[in-house]
């Protein structure tokens, strides 16, 4: 039987609430702001990272993780709102269209996430015929390609080929025969393509001579020669070519110069235009002069 005498005898000390030395130190440590922050934020973060790493380190888990992500991505990207159903190319002629279509994806429908619009634009603009292009996914899931074709302004002949070039001197195609584009002026020579605008001004000045002009030849990468039919050449100066040509036209109009047996009209020195005649004409002239001289001496 338990004793009836109370357990609270006077020499039993009341409960001592003193913290242990360790507990006291721990509490003080936890009240240190830096440590507390580290525990409150650092430990959970570390724990999460550790758990994630230990899970991710197994290959099957990793594969599953990647597959899940891929799957989710696919499902999202294949939603009908993002599918491109058709394409719509505007602003180009038939050959250019064919070339452009070859550069665009051929399987439709395709997700707009899989389309590299910028890449396509760069590839299309790399085509000779195309000056610029805009590619976008427009209304009702259509791939809209808007093309600006290059407009050739001249033909440029080098050793073997005839190229179409635009006003910036950029090639926009090739043709096999001059007859295909009789409407375009012909230029040739080294550095001709860099001075298209100069050539165009000269052509514009040519006016009445135009039907006789065969082309312009860049000489020494600094000035132009205008070549006419019957192998006549007009040597134009480096600067003031159009003015020099105007003078030639004026001479021609006044004296019908170019229809005579002239081989070269040299306008390089503005103060001293020079004509060179064909050999036969020169010989005939010399003969005529001799006759006159002898006559004169005889008199």
């Amino acid at each position: 039987m338990r004793s009836l005498i109370g357990r609270t005898s006077p020499d039993v000390m009341p409960r001592d609430p003193a913290p242990s030395r360790l507990g006291y130190r721990f509490q003080r440590l936890m009240l240190t702001p830096g440590f507390r922050g580290a525990v409150r934020i650092g430990v959970p973060v570390l724990l999460i990272v550790a758990i994630a790493t230990s899970w991710y380190i197994k290959p099957e888990n990793r594969a599953q993780f990647v597959a899940t992500i891929e799957n989710t991505k696919q499902t999202f990207q294949q939603r009908p709102q993002f599918m491109v159903q058709a394409m719509n190319i505007t602003g180009a002629d038939a050959d250019a269209m064919t070339d452009v279509v070859a550069l665009l994806p051929d399987t439709f429908p395709i997700s707009s996430f899989d389309l590299d619009l910028e890449g396509m634009r760069i590839k299309i603009e790399a085509l000779d015929q195309i000056k610029s292009a805009s590619v976008r996914v427009g209304q009702a899931g259509a791939l809209e390609v808007r093309l600006t074709p290059r407009v050739p302004v001249a033909l440029w002949r080098d050793a073997t080929t005839l190229r179409l070039i635009d006003e910036n001197g950029v090639q926009s195609g090739q043709i096999l025969a001059r007859a295909e584009r009789l409407d375009l002026p012909l230029i040739a020579g080294d550095g001709a393509e860099d001075n298209i605008d100069e050539a165009l001004v000269i052509f514009a000045t040519a006016g009445p001579l135009l039907e006789r002009v065969r082309g312009l030849v860049r000489m020494g990468e600094r000035r132009w020669d205008m070549v006419l039919d019957r192998d006549q050449r007009i040597l134009l100066p480096e600067s003031g070519a159009a003015a020099a040509l105007d003078r030639v036209i004026a001479l021609n109009a006044a004296q019908d110069m170019l229809s005579r047996d002239v081989a070269v009209v040299d306008m390089r020195n503005a103060n001293r235009p020079t004509l060179r005649m064909n050999e036969e004409a020169a010989a005939a002239l010399r003969r005529g002069n001799t006759t006159i001289d002898t006559n004169g001496v005889g008199n």
Binding site: L4, P10, D16, P19, Y24, R25, Q27, L31
Partner: protein
């Protein structure tokens, strides 16, 4: 002596560091309870919410953010008796206060009530030869004080200049910049047992705390419970503690005398315990519930159950009348007050202009004590409660906490002590760099 000054200066540095941290703990190591307050300093006049009475003693620049009290263990007569026990008690108090404040405290300012304080009045004089009194002169006049031989095992706890006199003019608070021939000073020096201080140092160090200041509890309870004009005109504060009763005499806002009587409330309790044959805890309980010092006829009829606590409920139910209890308590309280009277007489308290005596401390809550005290100590006796400080919990505003509250004031703005002044130039070592720097400072 030099060592102690160094350690006091080190404590002042620590206090400065604590002020910069903004958090400091107050530790009142008493015989019956250990109180810990955590103070947060936020600069002057930060916590004044409403207009009204301005700050008294600068108490508005801090706020109590944590307070805890625990039963004291291992302390007798205000001195540490069992170090481990005391250390555990300090840990308990500090931990609870830290938990309430939710900050970590590293610096602690402590007070102790026992350790046999002894007061000395010192005076020194210096010939300033008609010049202006400089800081250097003040430190030299203090250095010229004739320090008595207070014993090798004692340490100086307080050394405050209480008065400066220049020629015939006395009562100068700050003689710097004044012109005269002879500068004299009066200093009050309080020494205590070195071992008691070392024990306290050790206990606090074992709790991972740094001691940033040390004060006599008689002094700090006087600071908190005497009002300003009492401090100015002269008054004595009697701090009736658990194991010792502190006496401090103030005049012109300086403590001029301090002493302690090695008797207190616990002796009353042990008298009751022995007289009534009951356990100390029961004795303490009936003392606080029913105690008193003046018996009336009614008290003969008021019976107190003191209970044998032997489990024999039928037969062991003792009762005493309240008159009997008072009969046990009164002689001991009278003895304490008589002893205080003796000490005050020895100190020459009757020559002061003000004769106010303020009773504070836990023992001052005995009903009728003021009547008894006025018979023994003189007519002008009142019961004192500590000053109100911001954030102090309701449980800690009673007279038992006057030394803890006084210690907060001590922490907030301590009085200048000897070691706060410049070291006199001739005390520097001859080839010291400090001396060279000082020469430059003084001459350029």
């Amino acid at each position: 002596m030099g060592d102690l000054y160094d350690s006091q200066r080190a404590m002042r540095q620590m206090r400065k560091a604590a002020m910069q941290r903004g958090v400091v703990a107050i530790l009142d190591v008493g015989t019956s309870k250990i109180a810990c307050l955590v103070l947060r300093f936020d600069g002057p006049e930060k916590f004044r919410s409403v207009d009204g009475v301005g700050s008294l003693a600068g108490q508005s620049q801090f706020r109590v953010i944590g307070a805890a009290t625990t039963r004291s263990r291992g302390v007798r007569f205000g001195e540490i008796d069992a170090m481990q026990e005391t250390e555990r008690a300090i840990r308990t108090a500090v931990q609870a206060a830290q938990k309430m404040a939710n900050v970590r405290v590293d610096h602690v300012i402590a007070c102790l009530s026992g350790a046999r304080p002894r007061s000395y009045g010192l005076d020194g004089s210096l010939n300033v030869a008609g010049g202006m009194v400089s800081e250097q002169d003040i430190s030299q006049v203090m250095a010229s004080c004739d320090v008595p031989d207070y014993g090798a095992d004692r340490e100086v706890l307080h050394a405050q200049p209480v008065n400066f006199a220049l020629d015939h003019r006395s009562g100068l608070g700050d003689p710097r910049g004044q012109i005269g021939n002879t500068l004299t000073t009066d200093m009050h020096m309080l020494t205590v047992d070195a071992t008691a201080i070392q024990n306290l140092f050790y206990c606090i160090k074992r709790c991972d705390l740094e001691l940033a200041g040390l004060a006599s509890s008689a002094y700090v309870s006087g600071m908190s419970s005497l009002v300003e004009d009492e401090q100015e005109l002269g008054a004595a504060c009697i701090d009736l503690g658990g194991g010792s009763t502190g006496i401090s005499v103030f005049m012109k806002k300086h403590m001029i005398y301090a002493d302690s009587v090695r008797m207190g409330g616990e002796h009353v309790t042990s008298d009751i315990s022995m007289g009534l044959q009951i356990p100390a805890s029961t004795a303490e309980r009936i003392k606080t519930f029913y105690g008193g010092v003046v018996a009336t006829g009614m008290d003969d009829r008021e019976m107190i159950e003191i209970g044998g606590d032997t489990g024999d409920w039928e037969r062991d139910r003792r009762t005493v009348s309240r008159a009997e209890l008072i009969g046990i308590m009164r002689p001991r309280v009278e003895e304490i007050l008589e002893e205080v009277r003796v000490r005050l007489d020895a100190a020459g308290f009757e020559h002061l202009p003000g004769q106010q005596i303020v009773l504070t401390g836990g023992g001052s809550q005995i009903p009728g004590l003021d009547g008894l005290a006025s018979k023994i100590l003189g007519q002008q006796v009142r019961l004192g409660r500590p000053l109100r400080v911001q954030g102090l919990p309701q449980a800690a505003i009673g007279p038992a906490f006057s030394s803890a509250v006084g210690l907060t004031l001590f922490a907030a703005n301590p009085q200048d002590e000897w070691w706060d002044f410049e070291i006199p130039a001739d005390r520097y070592p001859a080839r010291s760099l400090k001396r060279a720097v000082k020469w430059f400072k003084d001459n350029w």
